[in-house]
Amino acid sequence: MTLAFHRPSSIADAAKLLAGAEDGKFLAGGMTLLPTMRQRLADPSDLVDLSSLPGLAMIERTGDGLVIGALTRHADVAGSEVVKAAVPALAALAGRIGDPQVRYRGTIGGSIANNDPAADYPAALLALDATVVTDRREIAADDFFLGTFETALETDEIVTAVRFPIPLAASYEKLRSPASRYALVGVFVARFADGVRVAVTGAGPCVFRSADIEEALASAFEPSALDRISIDASELNSDLHADADYRAHMIMVLTKRAVAAAIAGH
């Protein structure tokens, strides 16, 4: 089996190369795709490497928000003074993705396009009400993450940036799998002037928001507001490291911790 490798220098060329390939894949940081290929679980005909596309590795504070280019690596988000000042919880989240090697290769665009059910970034995008900017449109985070490894992206659509509003307070807490260090449960809590958004990753087939938790925290943004809420375990994942009951319980434990940390941080 031969593999065609392309490194286009424009977004238009990249999209065209992929559209023309028999079974092509975009390559960003490669932190999921390359191990999958090594395990012979993926065997694409073409790899379209996005690393030479100009202007996609950037971080910028705008009037009302924060823009992070799709090819920005986790380590750069984690270390960015701009991100730390605007949304410190986002910098902290990036600083705890995977291990140092992953953080120096993996990109925000690659992570959200892959939409691993245990990835960290999807929780941040959903809770922060971010907007995914692509080469052809803008997609609200609420409409972007559709299911396990499934997003609203077209096959040849390229994420160019993510636009985040600035919350009043936010925090991300996770329980890592002891083995893989992926989130068994991760909870991102973001408080805005007009309400609270809470997104949960790792626990279900896809990142999701909890309306019960959001309503309770909108009325009182403190851990004790959550005392009477419990999460239905029936839709949650069970595996060697955490059964569904434990995940349901840990969603509440971590949400309380995140609320406490968000209060303490502001």
């Binding site: 089996m1 329980l175 799998s177 002891p178 083995a179 060697l240 059964d243 434990y246 319980h249 434990v253």
Partner: protein
């Protein structure tokens, strides 16, 4: 250029090449015209093998040949041998079913090799392996040992009824029954010793080569004991005469037991190299290692400890099911029997012990020795039981141990389970550990943790181990089919540089440094002038290899004996040169002296003269300065110690933090304190891995390995660990030449019980008396929740 002797801590010689990336491992070796092999492995835990169609694979690009079990059977290749036979309590020898190199008729575990594809490149071999069509007829697998022993259970081997390899026992059942009658209290426990997967840093690899001109084979392999591989494979599997077979184990990246067996891949490659007359290489991938390396532990145990009204131990009864997996591996049946039951007395006076072990076949990977091998399992049973007894009798856990400990004056101490401890001072270890770990301050630490909402627990484990494997006479009585001596040759070159050929194998233990220190101390030769040669059957005389904390104890003793012989020879040469009688020559500080005079020859002068024998009395003195010694120990050695562990558990989440770990170990005389500390650190961390993280899990229905990669099999990592405090306590071994006892396995033996005892102590307020390993957050949370709901229901 100075002598660096016993007790000093020079940096490790071998680290220069390892840290600069210049180690030479099997996978670094490239031979001319070398082909690559890939093993086709069973995806089923239990299945009949029908037709195997290799035609498509043979037509694939680069493919040279495909071999199956039938090819080996036709060539009368033997089965993989077992090095240790055990006998049941009914006098019946263990069931020892044929273990084919490539499966014939049936596969018995996921990963069982059924065919080998040889191609020009590894990628071609792997791609073609997908084209080998094996017609499997799946059978119901036997996964759990409890199921395997049921009358209706499917049979892993048709000739082994009820999947029972051996019903084995040690000790005096009647005496234990008597103790039961007299007991004021009986503490009882049921526990599982979780299956472990060793995962040395370097995966296994092998290259086989056949020299047609000399009719000679060479096997390069990642082995802890190349001579034993040569003996077993040449003598029993492939029928290659020993002088026509060379086995080389070059730099090896960690073993932990995983590499101390003769594996199917070694025999298959050597066979194939002979058939094809070209070198063939195989390098295991990590994921392949999960389903082809031997695994460890896997016991299910019930045990009872009988005590009198004062908390004195009267007797111990243990009943264990031990998993062998699908086949008997090289030492498999010996580990849960002869390396387990004799350790059940621990550091205690335990007048009556009885241990029954049912050794069971299942459709899982074969189980064999893994660092500690039987002894961590025994320690875990005993030390968990002592803690249960302490809780139930209300006697403090330290006090109950003191009341039963063997005192220093009582050594040598004969246990009721074969072994006689030659030396030790467990009370001193415990006292020192109490001080170093600041046990007096623990209650304050517990109170402070409680203020933060955390349960803090203190765990203690004492232990003793039998290592320095092994006195051949005793091993023979226990069923060993070989001896367990060790050998060393000290070759003093004319320039007085020294090469030491030793039968042990260094794969991380620092032997090149430790052994050089021994020679430097003994002969006064500069540390830098000594090289340790190992791992090549053509360069080194027969030796038994490295495992069972034996290298320094047995190999070091052989080395010291060979050094003694060099000194004797040197004295003879000096006597001639100095015109004195042999009896008047003394060897001190690197010089041969005529007693009572200032006439002397340096070691270097004697070395030179040994090879320039111009006026030698040749009828009484041979030229040369090279001596060899074999050493067979008269007893096991018995390192021991006391470990304290402190943990904190968040009752809301089950998350656990290791807060402190203190180890006071008595490993006898210490040659290099830095290396000993490193060995203890590594061993303790492996034990912590078993207690908190690692678990080889098979699906009960299908026999598939669920924890088959590092995504699911959790190795301990630096951020899981506290800074470990090591504080040795030394009592010299009474019978080894330097008083050494061995330190390779201590940490692994003492730590699982210390950690779990701490976990149980933390949860004591909830009435919890046992937690199985690994104590993961999910498991702890479930236990805490159940205990809380039970106590609420009781109110």
């Amino acid at each position: 250029m100075t002598a660096i002797g016993i007790g000093q801590a020079p940096k490790r010689k071998e680290d220069v090449r390892f840290l600069t990336g210049r180690g030479r491992y099997v996978s670094d070796i490239k031979l001319h015209n070398m082909a690559a092999a890939f093993f086709v492995r069973s995806p089923h835990a239990h299945a009949k093998i029908g037709a195997i169609d290799s035609s498509a694979a043979l037509e694939a690009e680069g493919v040279v040949a495909v071999f199956t079990g039938a090819d080996l059977e036709a060539a009368k290749v033997g089965g993989l041998p077992v090095g240790w036979g055990i006998t049941g309590s009914d006098g019946e020898p263990m069931k020892e079913p044929f273990y084919p190199v490539l499966a014939v008729g049936k596969v018995r575990h996921v990963g069982d090799p059924v065919a080998v594809v040889v191609a020009e490149t590894p990628e071609q071999a792997q791609a073609a392996a997908d084209l080998v069509m094996v017609d499997y007829e799946p059978l119901t697998p036997v996964v759990s040992m409890l199921d395997a022993l049921k009358p209706e259970a499917p049979l892993v081997h048709e000739d082994v009824p009820q999947n029972l390899c051996c019903d084995w026992a040690m000790g005096d059942e009647a005496a234990v029954e008597e103790a039961r009658q007299k007991a004021a209290h009986i503490a009882r426990i049921e526990l599982v010793n979780n299956r472990l997967i060793g995962n040395p840093m370097e995966p296994r690899a092998a290259i086989a080569e056949y020299d047609r001109a000399r009719d000679h084979y060479t096997l390069y392999t990642t082995s802890q004991f190349p001579h034993v591989v040569r003996f077993l494979m040449g003598g029993l599997v492939l029928n290659i005469p020993q002088h026509k077979l060379r086995v080389v184990a070059p730099d090896v990246g960690g073993g932990f037991g995983v590499k101390q067996f003769h594996y199917a891949e070694e025999a298959a490659l050597t066979f194939i190299a002979g058939k094809l007359c070209r070198p063939v290489k195989w390098v295991s991938e990590r994921s392949e290692g999960f389903v082809s390396d031997r695994q460890g532990r896997d016991h299910v145990t019930e045990a009872e400890l009988m005590l009198d009204e004062n908390g004195k131990f009267l007797g111990l009864w243990v009943s264990t099911l031990a998993n062998m997996g699908g086949y008997l591996s090289t030492f498999g049946p010996n580990i849960p029997t002869n390396l387990y039951a004799p350790l059940l007395s621990g550091v205690y006076k335990l007048p009556a012990i009885f241990c029954n072990v049912k050794v069971v076949f299942t459709n899982t990977l074969p189980v064999d020795a893994y660092r500690g091998a039987g002894r961590p399992e025994a320690t875990f049973v005993l030390e968990r039981l002592v803690d249960v007894a302490a809780i139930e009798t209300g006697i403090d856990k330290i006090e109950i141990r003191r009341r039963n400990m063997i005192s220093k004056e009582e050594y040598p101490y004969q246990t009721p389970v074969v072994v006689e401890y030659d030396s030790g001072d467990p009370m001193a270890c415990l006292d020192k550990a109490i001080e170093v770990a600041d046990i007096a301050g623990f209650e304050a630490r517990r109170t402070e943790a409680a203020r933060r909402g955390k349960y803090r627990g203190l765990g203690l484990s004492t232990y003793v181990e039998a290592c320095g494997l092994a006195p051949s006479r005793l091993a023979g009585q226990m069923g060993a089919r070989g001896g367990l001596y060790e050998s060393a040759t000290v070759r003093v070159h004319p320039t007085s540089h020294v090469s030491v050929m030793i039968g042990t194998h260094n794969h991380g233990q620092g032997h090149e440094t430790t052994f050089a220190q021994i020679v430097s101390e003994q002969l006064g030769v500069p540390f830098e002038d000594i090289d340790i040669v190992f791992g090549d059957t053509d360069r080194v005389q027969f030796g038994m290899g490295t495992y069972g904390s034996r290298s320094l104890v047995v190999g070091g003793a052989a080395l010291s004996k060979a050094g003694d012989k060099v000194i004797v020879k040197g004295r003879k040469i000096a006597a001639h040169l100095l015109e004195a009688s042999f009896e008047d020559i003394a060897f001190e500080k690197g010089e041969f002296k005529v007693a009572g005079t200032d006439r002397a020859k340096t070691f270097a002068e004697i070395a030179g003269a040994a090879y320039v024998p111009h006026d030698y009395p040749l009828e009484t003195l041979e030229p040369g300065l090279e001596e060899q010694a074999y050493y067979d120990p008269i007893n096991f050695t018995y390192p021991g110690g006391a470990h304290f562990c402190e943990v904190e558990i968040d009752p809301d989440s089950g998350e656990i933090e290791l807060c402190a770990y203190t180890a006071v170990d008595d490993v006898g005389t210490i040659i290099n304190p830095m290396i000993v500390e490193g060995q203890l650190h590594g061993g303790i961390v492996q034990g912590i891995g078993q207690a908190l993280f690692e678990h080889g899990i098979y699906d009960e229905e299908t026999g598939q390995l669920m924890s088959g990669s590092f995504m699911d099999y959790c190795m301990p990592r630096a951020d899981n660990l506290p800074s470990i405090t090591i504080s040795p306590q030394v009592t010299a071994c009474a019978h080894t030449p330097m008083g050494v006892k061995g330190c390779g396995e201590c940490g692994t033996i003492g730590s699982p019980a210390a950690v779990i005892n701490a976990v149980v102590d933390a949860l004591k307020p909830l009435g919890i008396t046992h937690v199985d390993m690994p104590a993961t957050p999910n498991r702890l949370w479930a236990i805490i929740r159940n205990a809380q709901s039970t106590s609420i229901a009781a109110e």
